[in-house]
């Protein structure tokens, strides 16, 4: 029993993970991004399941490392990080908080219609696609026709 009481609750772990920033879009956390799929105590071992956004995303290994560093700093010694590829990550898993933070940062959040709803800078809906791809695998490149500012759009997948 004494062992159980020394284990932080999974709610507590989720809270800690929500403070780990995404390495490429540091305004949102790895929890906001929807890539932490599970937090579970298996006996003495804490198992955190992480799913990659894109299969070739170079940030994936950094994310696992950041999660490990954060949890170790909270005193968790026995830790296992698992990669889970199914169900495949979808932008539907982005939190509402994450979507709002993206927009505030200048990245248009994903929309089911397949393009940004409005310019994250001036709010105009007069937009044009520059490229289907952008600065990271998860983004595309758009431009506002009114304020002329180019911006990133978080691709909807």
């Amino acid at each position: 029993m004494s062992q159980v009481t020394t284990q932080p609750s999974t709610d507590q772990i989720w809270e800690w993970l929500d403070a780990v920033p995404d390495p490429e879009i540091p305004v949102i956390s790895v929890v906001d991004l929807g890539i932490v799929r599970g937090v579970e105590w298996q006996g003495e071992t804490l198992v955190v399941s992480v799913t990659p956004t894109y299969s070739g995303c170079p940030a994936t290994s950094i994310i696992s490392l950041d999660i490990e560093t954060a949890l170790r700093s909270k005193g968790i010694e026995d830790l296992k990080i698992e990669t889970r590829i199914s169900p495949a990550w979808t932008t539907d898993w982005l939190s509402e908080k994450g979507r709002a933070k993206l927009e505030e940062y200048g990245i248009a959040p994903p929309q089911p219609a397949g393009g940004p709803e409005k310019c994250p800078r001036c709010g105009s809906k007069n937009l044009t696609k520059v490229s289907q791809f952008g600065s990271t695998p998860c983004k595309a490149h758009w431009r506002c026709q009114d304020c002329l500012e180019p911006f990133d759009y978080f691709k909807c997948i």
Binding site: I85, A88, H141
Partner: protein, 253 residues
């Protein structure tokens, strides 16, 4: 051929296609006609290499000789590769690269759609992940083929030349052998030939929008997916791709 041999062969075919095409596409990095296209090509290559990790990782597991995805990518020679010849032909101009991408993406998207229903859940999971990325690749390559085919006189001419050059490499994707028959029996993967009808319907629609004419020939170069005979280009590609691991065995980033 045992079922595991056939399974490993199938996984090498999937992983070698994405590895070799991914490497080819990455050769454009820093050379594309405009920055946006450069980034798009590099992103496509990245997705393909990511998928390679999963396919070759599983291939190593099924082979059961303790080989990692990296071992399979960097320490095999040309005759052990199982990619279709289409993936290894040189890039040519930008138009030919995008035409090759389109001809491959169209097959790839149909194949992954079928593999999502594989009886092997690891295969189904990789296919589910990859199919989302490939749907995006296909959207872009199809749009570009239409844009350039139905573009200027110069771009139209180049795209027709690209299609004429690449067409004899299309047929190999639909050839079947003993390993495929084994995969069909196990419910792991579809018979390649069964994808042809859907493929023809898809590419006919796009190439017609692109005002391009599909060559009237069913001749197909083959030998890549069986490993019987690759083109001379694969060896040259490997000397570059594998150079570091060959010169400094076990070197780590």
């Amino acid at each position: 051929m045992t079922r595991d041999d056939a399974f490993a062969q199938f996984l090498l075919r999937m992983g070698d296609n994405t590895l070799i095409l991914g490497h080819r596409v990455s050769e454009w990095c820093g050379h594309a006609p405009v920055l946006e296209e450069d980034i798009a090509l590099a992103n496509t290559a990245l997705d393909l290499i990511g998928q390679t990790q999963m396919w070759l990782g599983l291939a190593g597991e099924v082979q059961g000789q303790g080989k990692s995805a990296d071992d399979l990518a960097f320490l095999r020679d040309a005759w052990d590769f199982r990619n279709v010849l289409l993936c290894e032909v040189p890039n040519g101009d930008f138009g030919r690269t995008l035409m090759r991408q389109f001809l491959f993406d169209a097959w790839h998207s149909i194949q992954l759609g079928r593999l999502m229903k594989s009886s092997d859940e690891r295969v189904a999971a990789i296919a589910e992940k990859a199919s989302k990325e490939v749907a995006y690749h296909l959207e872009r390559s199809a749009d570009t083929v239409v844009g350039l085919g139905d573009g200027t006189e110069e771009s139209h001419r180049r795209m027709q030349e690209a299609l004429d050059y690449l067409w004899p490499y299309v047929g190999e994707m639909f050839q079947s052998d003993e390993a495929d028959a084994e995969m069909v029996k196990a419910g792991i993967a579809p018979d390649p030939a069964s994808l042809r009808e859907e493929y023809d319907a898809l590419i006919s629609r796009i190439l017609s929008d692109a005002t391009l004419t599909i060559p009237d020939s069913s001749f197909a170069h083959k030998g890549g997916r069986t490993g019987a005979m690759h083109t001379e280009h694969l060896g040259h590609l490997l000397t570059q791709m594998q150079w570091l691991q060959r010169a400094y065995p076990g070197a780590k980033w």
